[in-house]
Symmetry: C2
Subunit: 521 residues, 2 copies
């Protein structure tokens, strides 16, 4: 692997098209060795944050009116520039996160795919726009010509996620959809992979220069103190926020956005236990396969996916006993591994300790132990349905490779769990087609508590496409009306505008009657 060190990384902020110069305050860490890396970064001062939002505000005046085709070219060029530097980016991300190179290469591909999807949607819009033509003859009053389009909201603050250093970070889905919508962006880089953020920012910088974008279209501030975040979301120049992270931090920032003099939308994707409901007949037929698939899914990214399946719901049976046996065997064979940060590892271990000490919980199995304190063990636990329902603690997400099997006495108990679920990003139902047909009350109850309902597949792997929804009822996300993945993610950073009786000579192209996606009435 290439030897990366401070000479590749400035450790500075990128504001209004230039790298700032500030003292260095913190390092990113290698979570595998649990040692600080050689990369050193500045923690953004209040002045730096103000400069960044002011740059984004100034650039918005130009960027908002740039034609969709030019925005598309910018997004595609960002993807090109990330691909051009993929070796350094993935190697750096590997140092900072410990995630395997293959995974990081895949994630880079996904990140570029997202940028290109929004670019394609700008060139061939898939959304509808509505035009109601004038009718001057209508009585008692003539009908005016009205046309419904959208405008970008303004500068957007984006918070990089710990668990996807590329796809949900600097040039991830929030940034891509905000830029596609015509918004300028200020990213707060996640301190756990600040060097990766800087390299991706440099790819965006090169793309902005090549595409002749206004300085300030994209800005990066680095920071490790909460003040950077709170100042950013309360700055009057910022008009919307994209965030992927914990419920605790997400709620603090959401509350700040709601209490501003002029409140702004806060899009927080906060996590989920992604329950797996297994129906009895399929369980009887495929117990071993279902258990092995569960373990594979919950071990992806060592359990640090938003869509990691952390709860399994099934009814007591011979099939379930077989399932548990395979689950125990497969979990026991897993290695311990580092987490994304030593902080995440410590939280996982503390949560697990509390759960294991709970008299209502039975330990099914744990993976191999490790002498390294910051390595965590995959774990499967078991709890009776009634005890699960009675304990909000057991129902909470454990961020990491842990799953709780909830044993139900009967189908009625399973339905009760479905009805009382907290909001989830996803849930899966595993069953034979005949039993799915016979369980539509259960399926409907689940659907009303999730953003994506999946049949006979695992929740890990969020397809980037037009019909994806990655979001869900609170606390899965702070705004269940929106998705952070897929074509509809762009709508988070737009608002409607109606043009009434606007002369054709000045009408925006996208609401002309022959524009693609225009429905005329």
């Amino acid at each position: 692997m290439t030897d990366f060190n401070q000479q590749n990384i400035s450790g500075q902020h990128f504001i209004n098209g230039a790298w700032t110069s500030e003292t260095t305050d913190f390092c990113s860490n290698n979570p595998v060795t649990n040692q600080a890396l050689a990369f050193k970064f500045a923690n953004a001062s209040a002045e730096i944050v103000t400069n960044a939002t002011a740059a984004a505000k100034q650039a918005f005046k130009q960027y908002r009116s740039i034609a969709p085709e030019r925005r598309a070219a910018f997004l595609n060029t960002i993807a090109d520039e990330i691909q051009a530097d993929i070796e350094a980016i993935t190697a750096t991300a590997h140092l900072e996160t410990g995630l395997p190179m293959a995974r990081l290469q895949g994630e880079t591909g996904r990140t570029c795919g997202q940028l290109r999807l929004f670019a394609a949607n700008l060139i061939n819009p898939i959304d509808n726009r509505y035009v109601d033509l004038a009718n001057p003859e209508r009585a008692p009053l003539p009908k005016p010509d009205t046309r419904l389009s959208t405008l970008p909201l303004g500068p957007v603050a984006v918070f990089g996620a710990s668990n996807f250093p590329l796809a949900f970070s600097t040039a991830g889905g929030d940034t891509a959809s905000a830029l596609a919508a015509g918004c300028t962006v200020v990213v707060k880089g996640h301190p756990a992979h600040a060097a990766t953020s800087e390299l991706v920012c440099k790819a965006i910088e090169r793309a902005a220069n090549q595409c002749d974008m206004p300085a300030g279209v994209f800005n990066l501030v680095q920071g490790v103190t909460p003040e950077v975040s709170t100042q950013l979301v309360t700055d009057s120049a910022i008009r919307a926020v994209g965030f992927t992270g914990s419920l605790k931090v997400g709620r603090i920032l959401a509350d700040l956005c709601a209490s501003r003099a002029e409140p702004i939308p806060f899009y927080g994707e906060l996590g989920s236990t992604n329950p797996q409901f297994i129906l009895p007949q399929l369980l009887e037929q495929q117990a071993q396969e279902l258990a092995s698939t569960q373990v594979q899914s919950m071990l992806m990214g060592h359990g640090q996916f938003c869509t990691s399946p952390g709860v399994i719901v099934a009814i007591k049976s011979d099939g379930l006993n077989q399932y548990k046996a395979t689950l125990a065997q497969d979990i026991a064979a897993q290695s311990a591994a580092s987490m994304l940060t030593s902080g995440i590892a410590a939280t996982y271990q503390a949560q697990l300790e509390t759960l294991i000490a709970n008299p209502n919980i039975e330990l099914i199995a744990q993976g191999e132990s490790s002498p390294a304190n910051h390595f965590t063990r995959p774990t499967a636990l078991k709890v009776a349905a009634n005890d699960f329902l009675a304990s909000s603690e057991i129902q909470q997400e454990v961020f990491g490779p842990c799953a709780v099997l909830v044993e139900c006495d009967d189908a009625a108990q399973m339905l009760l769990i479905a009805e009382q679920l907290e909001g989830q990003l996803t849930a899966s139902v595993h069953g034979l087609e005949a039993e799915l047909i016979n369980n539509q009350t259960l399926i409907e109850a689940i659907a009303f508590n999730v953003g994506r309902i999946i049949f006979n597949q695992m929740p890990t792997g969020v397809e980037v496409c037009h019909s994806m929804n990655h979001g869900g009822p609170y606390p899965a996300s702070t705004d269940s009306r929106t998705t952070s993945v897929g074509s509809a993610a762009m709508a988070r950073f737009e608002r409607p505008i109606c043009y009434q009786n606007m002369p054709t000579s000045i009408l925006p192209e996208r609401v002309s009657v022959d524009a693609q996606g225009v429905k005329t009435f």
Copy 2:
């Protein structure tokens, strides 16, 4: 006119399909005579509010799964039943609001039109749904079948507006769009027209019975104390709120919604000054006509429209002098009249007194005075652009028949006003086509601060159609991403859901590949 009295009006709440029995606490008033009417109403207790939300929650479990065609029939039947009782409804509304009968008949037609528009959209959906078909051969991972649809949010609380006793009240746009979306409803009737609310509620009751809807699909609570409102929006059963009213009350309720354990969307349409920008060449040609049209528009509903044009922006010129002369003459010829409530009249008078006392403001003209204290006089004021920009007080909405003419020295000053506008529902630009083409910077600046930009027409009269947007940047509304009028209003009460790998045998009809509005990729 028929003689209506308490015998037609129970004064009670309508909960879970039945009228409650409670002591009576308040009367509605005749704002013209400024006397209490014979109608007496109960103020909802905490128990009543809880019963209403519990009924809506219980009914939601059934109503959410009722087919779109049956929901459409319900909406159409509500419209039929309102039409069937139009004489009593409009006569009662006339007593309670003082609004002219012709206006109330028109508003009833509009209310029924809205219900029928949403019904039509349920039968022939105009929105898109997206389907990405499976591709089992894709490498490295197969692509699952994903389909994006929507689900209703849950029980919705609706606050009736003072200024539209029908179109924005009991069966108004919020209720119609919530019911269309599959949400059940609890309306808090506006105390200024509580009897009208009851009659409309009875029309909904008859429709619910005829269409075999679940008891609790629609509930009405009457109330005059703030506690009724605050309890309603913080009740955990309520999942979204529709509100039309003042910034002050709207913001209080919005903050309560945001601070709940589980925050919910609050859709507040809070008002606007709807600035009229008049460009010089048109002003030169049509000064008198423009001034007369301004007065007609600002006198609609005695100035109590959300879209009343309360600010006029023009550049000093001979044309403007002519405009002012006609404005003064037309305003002086207007009669004083009662407002919707004596409270609104008092607020108008107090605001006006403060403005007239402001040394930077010049009184252009006032309408005839009246011996009745609760009658208000139409008023035109004048202020220099710099003084307008410097004073947030002068920029505030005066709810009633008042407009402030802002005199600019030049086009640069007009642009400054456009750029610094607070969020507005609408603004109009009046100009010859050639000067519109030459003022696109101005037009763009205005567009970014309004929900609807209008050319050479007045803002009063909100067309109910697919392409309408009635909403705008804060403080025009609390959620600029949504509209309270037109087809898109329904989306406020829905959220997306993705169905992944769902067997065709149980897939909802509306995401089948041959359903109307489905785009397949």
